[in-house]
């Protein structure tokens, strides 16, 4: 057994939020030692796959109020408005900071940063680095973090399995060093969760293999509530089969969605009326193809029901057509879209439309935090997709998440540092005792166990399919219950799991088994939260309760884990500051407002 490793701040997850938090601590509190624990090398984190851009008010014709109101109405009023205000106000500074760290933002001829429009946004305010924004942000953050040698210590390819809570405070984790299989105790005065989302609990997702909701599950099992888990974002344009993301930027540059009759069907779903693609006012903001993601994904399902979608070997699709943009513009602004379409759909979007269908993309919900990134468990902080602050409410607007991980990554770093300065004691001996139990558990449940009969892959694919069937774009009491029963039985069968690999070095089957457990826990919270919310709002559409119900559900869902049976659900009021709940308006009325001025 290895000795406990001690640092002041422990960050779990090396993606955008984790790196931003680490740098925030290293820059502002050089005396604090930071450990960055990541189950993959930081530059492999899924921030890398974000494409379109990061929102932040920077142009003269834009305003904080406009960004706030877009975000809040996009969220179907389920966002906390104090959090949104903080987010919007700090966004430009964070994006500029990233520019100072070398992020190659696309530019205007004047040399200023260029911005593009994005879905649900009234103004162009999305900063972008061609269509690989997340990639460039992540590498800029990672490479910058290398500067703080001695202050940030990297534990690459370490997989955290348990939060250590002692004296009512989170004081560390147990983590498996994948290279050796050693299970270490990592102790710290404060812990920040930055482990990303859980899109992998669905069969068809844009998310990478690593996005298994680990941090959410760890916190959930430690008694921290998961907030608003029922809100799962479907991105309207994924490639069929693989679920590879075709960025919203394809539409913000002027791409259109058409059904099998060549019709721009979005006009039939309260998203405004189409302008010809040659019209200089196309694409209209907050209308048609630049409507919010929940509405576009829902429109796809309705078109499918009408029989207007196109058959493909991997499920029905509609066409995303960008042919009318010039080849030069596609090469300059959307090179990755073209690369992906050519490699994975076998078509060149300069000459052919891209087949697309909605695909699970993002978890609006996550670990419950306040606007400082603090969770209800003292000493535990969270930021990024694994957290729910909440600024995304019932539906996140595209390009808010990359900014979110910067703003709240930095805030969580600062809060954790402040907490660490006030709480210097760490109860190493007690932590080690807890860690011993965890080591024993993992050995007995997986490594030395024999005679189990359930196969990992079988359980996992049953989970995928059940989630897809019961908790997709449209849900009912019945579908959710059915899926919940499946997940319960999978929990049961998981106890009888048998893995082939009993070795220590890079036992990736063991990590996959632990990830499956995390996914089952997240799925449980998600399903139960969805069952209890008997209304339709944003991405949560209950066909048995089709209307929004502010009188009962203008509230955040908090799911608390219980050892026996489904989670306990509590509600917390949404914070309203200046934007009272109203109707979400896209298209006609929105464009009237735009042409009026």
């Amino acid at each position: 057994m290895a000795d406990a490793i001690q640092h002041d701040i422990l960050i779990i997850g090396g993606g955008g939020a984790g790196l931003r938090a680490a740098i925030a601590v290293a820059e502002n509190d050089p005396d604090l030692s930071v450990a960055l624990v990541s189950k993959v090398y930081p530059m492999r984190s899924h921030t890398v796959a974000a494409e379109g851009g990061a929102a932040g008010v920077v142009k003269d014709n834009d305003s904080f109020a406009a960004h706030c109101s877009d975000t809040i109405s996009g969220a179907d009023w389920l966002a906390d408005q104090d959090a949104v205000e903080v987010f919007v106000a700090e966004a430009p500074g964070e994006l500029t900071q990233l520019e100072h760290w070398g992020c190659p933002w696309s530019r205007e001829p004047s040399g200023h940063v260029a911005v593009r429009p994005f879905g649900g946004m009234e103004q162009e305010r999305t900063w972008f680095a061609a269509d690989k924004t997340g990639f460039h942000m992540l590498h800029a953050l990672y490479q910058t973090s290398l500067k703080y040698e001695g202050r940030i210590r990297f534990y690459d390819e370490w997989f955290a399995t348990k939060l250590l809570v002692e004296d009512g405070r989170c004081q560390g984790v147990v983590a498996i060093e994948l290279r050796t299989g050693l299970m270490h105790t990592l102790a710290a005065r404060a812990v920040i969760m930055c482990t990303g989302g859980a899109g992998r609990i669905f069969a068809f997702t844009t998310n990478g293999a690593i996005k298994t909701g680990d941090g959410m599950a760890l916190a959930y099992r430690a008694g921290v509530p998961l907030k608003d888990m029922e809100f799962v974002q479907y991105h309207p344009t994924g490639l069929p089969g693989t679920g590879i993301l075709i960025t919203e930027a394809a539409r913000s540059e002027g791409g259109i969605l058409v059904n099998k009759h060549g019709d721009r069907y979005l006009k039939d779903y309260d998203l405004g009326s189409p302008l010809d693609v040659t019209d200089p006012r196309h694409p209209q903001k907050r209308a048609m193809e630049l409507g919010p993601r929940d509405r576009l994904s829902q429109a796809f399902v309705k078109e499918h029901e009408k029989g207007n979608t196109i058959d493909s070997p991997f499920g029905d699709v509609v066409h995303l057509d960008i042919r009318h943009l010039s080849a030069k513009k596609i090469r300059l602004k959307l090179p990755f879209v073209r690369e992906l379409a050519m490699n994975y759909a076998g078509i060149d979007p300069i000459r052919e439309p891209i087949p697309v269908r909605p695909v699970v993309h993002y978890m609006m919900g996550g670990i419950h935090t306040d606007i400082h990134g603090a969770t209800p468990l003292p000493g535990l902080f969270a930021a990024g997709e694994c957290a729910c602050v909440s600024i995304n409410g019932a539906n996140r607007l595209g390009s808010n998440s990359l900014t979110e991980l910067l703003v709240f990554g930095a805030r969580a770093g600062a809060s954790a540092a402040a907490f660490a300065r006030e709480h210097e004691t760490v109860h190493i001996a007690a932590l080690d005792t807890q860690a011993d139990d965890e080591r024993r558990r993992i050995r007995e449940e997986f490594l030395t166990k024999d005679g189990g009969t359930e196969r990992l892959a079988a359980l996992r694919s049953e989970l995928f399919n059940a989630m897809e069937q019961g908790a997709g774009i449209y849900r009912t009491e019945e579908s959710l219950r059915q899926t919940y029963r499946t997940v319960e039985s999978l929990h049961e069968r998981y106890r009888n799991l048998q893995i082939d690999d009993h070795s220590n070095c890079y036992n990736t089957e063991l990590t996959a088994a632990l990830e499956l457990r995390n996914m089952l826990d997240v799925a449980e919270a998600l399903l139960h939260s969805a069952l209890e919310r008997k209304e339709s709002r944003g991405s949560h559409q209950r066909t048995d309760h089709p209307a929004r119900d502010d009188s009962k559900y203008l509230k955040h869902t908090l799911a608390y884990r219980r050892d026996d049976g489904p989670p306990r659900i509590k509600y917390q009021d949404v914070v309203i500051t200046k934007w009272p709940p109203g109707k979400r308006v896209y298209g006609a009325e929105a464009s009237e407002a735009a042409t009026g001025c």
Binding site: R44, H112, D156, N507
Partner: protein, 255 residues
Amino acid sequence: MPDTTITLDVFRFQPDGGGHARRSTDGPTFKAYRVPYHEHWVVLDALNWIKDELDGTLSYRWSCRMGVCGSCGMMVNGVPKLTCAAFLKDYYPGTIRVEPLTYFAVERDLIVDMDGFLGKLKSVKPWLIRENEKPVDEGEYLQSPNELASFKQYSMCINCLLCYAACPVVGAEEDFIGPAALAIAQRYNLDSRDQGAAERADALSADEGAWGCTFVGECSEVCPKNVDPAGAIQRVKVDNVKDWYRKLLMPWGHR
């Protein structure tokens, strides 16, 4: 299983033998797996199928399966490839040999030791260096689209290390900083916002730096993101030559 199958010959190695003693100096062993053949499958899909259905002990790295996270680089029939972008149909009906990236130490199966690379990356100071940092509230550093274009290509590196597995110098000289790290260094040197070329010069102008390169050019051939590290390195050499003569002719100069 469907009628058509394809065989993958997969490199296997476990330092702790999965319980069976085996020394790391033992030669490589290959294990053949028969996998269903689908036209749209990539080598990574086949590996995942093996791990799920046949043999849970096979270890490898992967994540995004869209060619941007850089995890899943392996040798496919002797050529370094991202396995998420290597389609079975390009090899069918032949057998596909899958090995870990060459010139790296193998940790297990298809997983190689990346620590050496990270050290090399850090040695070229891959971050923006300024003499004076401008406060954030004074806004961005201006940069024209052409200034951006001059380094953009070299900023596309995903650290997949295919270029290292293609470079014989990496194979012969363990300390050679290598294509990706040198290209990233040049990316910062060419960035109009950066003033750190002099700080990077020690590493770049050393024998382990750009001068280690003999311009085989294979790094650029295998690069899945068209970064062209070979070109970057030659340009480092040109800059280094200018520096060398400048120092020779004007020893009193600052740089």
